[in-house]
Subunit: 155 residues, 2 copies
DNA sequence: GTTGATTACTTGCAACCGAAACTAATGTAG
DNA sequence: CTACATTAGTTTCGGTTGCAAGTAATCAAC
């Protein structure tokens, strides 16, 4: 291996900050949604993606991609959302291996109710603290780090 | 509330990228350490912090702060590290509420063995993809977002 | 068409986590 | 001193997760 064994001081300082952020930011958002709406961030994202889809439904594997989760994890997240009445699951008639998750009216109402608080939390934690230039920098850096894995929005 | 209800398009794009990164980066590092060293990222960070301390020990509450974890989580992480022989726990004689975690020789060897692979993963996921200017930007943004919560290094 | 590989999704298991309850030591007010 | 509050850490409980194994449908080769 030709890489240096450890990070240089500049990189090390940057990494300690990034790592802290990577642990704390998700926890902050998670606890806001849990406390105020009894939703997980993953569950919120599933509802958000479905609610923004024109057809209000999406196959499981696509949904897993959009929400950055494994298939097995998504399967359980959707099972819980279904139990809570926010989502239904149905087989695709064309390919009966495929399961289509569809958001219910109750699910639409839930995401509409949850969104303002979640957005406020995101603003408070991120966008209120950065200027426009920094937002652009952060977006550029994030997309660079995601590389080809950047997920696509529902059509 | 005076905030706009949702994010503007620029912010929305930035947030989708940041959120994806926030989910994927920890998972990447977690699976590398799990696969190659049978360590969690949290366990690695505990060993790393202890190994860098002059005294090779640290009280639990301080360690929780340094590693961005709750006390209850840290308690279990250290219990597992102790079971694996990488750490010992002892009461502080001055204040018998306090528990001092100390890294063992085996723990020092473990972190030395695990570090190169972990650092390589961090490099591959982050620093190899950014130029110096972006590293500075990312560090500045992260520290701004952490605000006063920025953790201090062991003395 | 039958066999074998692949794809889509689900589930069993062991480990992990946050929140709250718990134990125990220390600090403080009278 | 003696309550009462506070601090440090652990543990219990319900729920979540990743991995690997399992089910079922489709595809590909012959």
């Amino acid at each position: 291996m030709t890489e240096p064994q450890w990070l240089n001081p500049e990189e090390r300082k940057a990494w300690l900050a990034v790592a802290s952020l990577m642990f704390r930011l998700p926890a902050t958002l998670e606890s806001q949604l849990q406390r105020d709406e009894d939703l997980t961030v993953a569950g919120y994202m599933v509802l958000a993606m479905l609610s923004e889809s024109a057809t209000r439904e999406c196959r499981m594997s696509k949904l897993a991609e959009l929400t950055n989760t494994s298939q097995s994890r998504l399967s359980r997240i959707v099972a819980r959302l279904e139990k809570d009445g926010y989502v239904t699951r149905a087989m695709d008639a064309n390919d009966r291996r495929v399961v289509l998750a569809r958001i219910t009216e109750s699910g639409m109402a839930k995401i509409a109710a949850a969104a303002p608080g979640h957005v406020a939390a995101v603003r408070a934690a991120v966008f209120d603290r950065l200027d426009e230039e920094q937002v652009r920098q952060l977006a550029a850096i994030s997309r660079t780090l995601l590389g080809d894995d950047f997920p696509h929005l529902p059509e």
